[in-house]
C-alpha cells in the first residue's frame, strides 16, 4: 500500500513536471496556402498559423513554429522533434493508427478536380495528387491512373504541362488557380476524409486534451467560424 502511494505521488510529480514544459513546438508544412504557407517575410503564415496561435493562447502554452516537409512529418512527430502536426492533415484511420488526433477544427473540405478543360474525363485519364494524401489514396482505391508528386505545386504544374489530365486536391487550395492559365475547376467534387485535425503523439494525451478544450471553446464562441470564413479554407460549423 505504501509503495503504491509513493509510486503514484512520484508519477503525479513527473506528470506535473511534464506540464511545466511550456514550449510546444508546432510542426507544419508551409507549402499549402491558404492553410499554411511562408509569407514574404519568411514566417509561417496562413489559417493554421492564426488558429495555432489562438489555440496556444487559450491553452496557456508557449508555441514555436517549425516547418517540415510532408513526407517525414509524421516520423518526426513520433520521434519527438516537435509536439504537434498542424498542417491541413485530415483525420484518417490509417493515420490514427500511428498518431492521435484532436477533434477536427474544420469540417471535411470537399476535394475538387482542376483540369486544362471542362470536358476532361477523370475516370479514364491521369490524375495527379500529392503523395501520402487522402486524395491520392482515394484515386488509388478507385483504380484510376494516379501520378504522385512530393509537393502540391508540382501537381498543378503537371496539369499545366500536360503530364496529367487533372489534379485532385482540397478545393480551398485549388481555388486560387482556377481561371488562370486556362485551368478550370470541374463541377464534380468528392467528399474525402473526416475533417482536418491536429496530430499529436499517442503518448501525449494531456496535450491533446488541452488542445481539444481550446478547439471546443473556439467552436462555442464562434471565433473558429469567423477564422474559417476569413481564410476561405472550408465550410463553417
Amino acid at each position: 500500500m505504501k509503495k503504491l502511494l509513493i509510486a503514484t505521488t512520484a508519477l503525479a510529480f513527473s506528470a506535473g513536471l511534464a506540464m511545466a514544459q511550456d514550449v510546444v513546438r508546432m510542426g507544419t508544412e508551409g507549402a499549402y496556402p491558404p492553410w499554411n504557407f511562408i509569407n514574404d517575410n519568411g514566417d509561417v503564415d496562413g489559417f493554421e498559423r492564426e488558429l495555432g496561435d489562438e489555440l496556444c493562447a487559450r491553452a496557456n502554452l508557449n508555441c514555436e513554429w517549425v516547418t517540415n516537409d510532408w513526407d517525414s512529418i509524421i516520423p518526426n512527430l513520433v520521434s519527438g522533434n516537435y509536439d504537434t502536426i498542424i498542417a491541413g492533415m485530415s483525420v484518417t484511420d490509417e493515420r490514427d493508427e500511428v498518431i492521435d488526433f484532436t477533434q477536427a477544427y474544420t469540417p471535411p473540405d470537399p476535394s475538387s478536380f482542376l483540369a486544362a478543360s471542362a470536358d476532361v474525363d477523370v475516370e479514364n485519364g491521369v490524375v495527379a495528387a500529392q503523395t501520402a494524401t487522402i486524395q491520392a489514396a482515394f484515386i488509388a482505391e478507385k483504380g484510376w491512373k494516379l501520378v504522385e508528386f512530393a509537393t502540391p505545386e508540382e501537381t498543378v504544374a503537371a496539369v499545366r504541362n500536360g503530364e496529367a489530365d487533372a489534379v485532385l486536391a482540397d478545393t480551398s487550395y485549388l481555388a486560387p488557380f482556377a481561371d488562370e492559365d486556362g485551368l478550370v475547376m470541374l463541377e464534380r467534387t468528392e467528399m474525402i476524409g473526416g475533417g482536418v485535425g491536429m496530430g499529436i503523439r499517442e503518448s501525449d494525451g494531456d496535450l491533446r486534451a488541452r488542445f481539444d478544450a481550446a478547439i471546443q471553446s473556439m467552436k462555442d464562441d464562434g471565433t473558429l467560424n469567423a477564422m474559417i470564413m476569413k481564410w476561405e479554407v472550408a465550410s463553417t460549423w
Binding site: L17, P33, P34, N39, N41, D45, V66, P176, S203, W231
Partner: protein, 307 residues
Amino acid sequence: MVTYRTVRAVSAARMPALIMFAHCTDPAALSGLSWLSCYLTTGKHMNLYVSVVVVLVLLAITAPAALAFGFGGATAARSNFPPLRWLGQSYIAVVRGVPDIAFFLFFVIALDQAFEYLRHRVKCSDWTEPVRQGNDFIVCQAAKLPLSTSPQWVHEVYGFFLAVLTFAIVFGAFAANVLFGAMRAVPHGQLETAEAYGMNRRQTFWRVLVPQMWLYALPGLSNLWMILIKATPLLFLLGVEDIVYWARELGQTANARFTEYPHGDWRLWYFSALLVFYLGFTRVSEIAFDRLNRRLLKGQATMGGSS
C-alpha cells in the same frame, strides 16, 4: 463563387515586413527593374541568400571531417591488428554498399535518438517507463537534445551538425576507399628503402607513405568533392533548408491573396540560377584541383611527372 481580396494580402504576420529600399512600401505600384529589386530583397529571399552561406559552411566543415573519417578508416583497414582491420573494412563495405539516402533518412533520426537516449540514462536514471511507447520515442524533458525550451536557431544549428556528421560518415567511407587504394599504390621500393634506413613503421608511414600517397589519392578525392558539392541538396532530407529547397519554395506560383509579389511558376528561372551557381562552383574546384595536382606531380615517376 469565391471572391478575392487583392488590395492587401491576407496575413497573420506579427513581425514587420523587411523593406530594403524606400520605394518598396507599395509593390503593387512598381514594375520592371524596381519591382525586381524589391522582390529579390524580401525576407523570404534573404533565406535563399543565407542558405548559400549555409551550404558553403557545410562544405567547409564536412570535407575535412570526411577526410578525417576516411583517413581513420583507411589506416584501420590496413592495420596488422585483425579486429581493427575488420572494423575498417566493414565500415568501408557497409557504408559504400547501402544507398546514401537510406543512411541520411535513417541516421539522422537514429543518431538523434541515440544521443537523447544516452542523456536520458545519465540524467533521468529514475525514469521507470520504457523509452519506446508504442510508436513514440519518449525521453524525459531534461534529456531532449536540443531542449524544447531552446530557441529555434539552436534546433537549426543542431540539425545542421547532425547533417555534417552524417555526410562525413557517408563520404568518409568513400574517402577511406580512395585513400586505402592510394596507400597501396605508393611504390613498395620507397617503403623498403625507408625501412633500410632504419625508420620504424610509424616513421615510414608519416614521412614516406602519406606524403606520396596524396598524388594517387587526388583524382579520387577530387571526384568525391564534386559529388559532395552536388549532394548538398540532400540537406533538405535532413531538415536543413538549403538552396534547392528555397529555390523550389520561392519559384512556386505566388497568388496575390498570399503575397505582395504575385508571380507565375518561376521555378525554371530559379533552377537556372542554381545551375549557374553549381557549374561555377565545380569549375572553380576543378581549376584548384588541377593546380594542386601539378604541384604534387613534381619529382614523381608517373606519366605526368617530371622526374
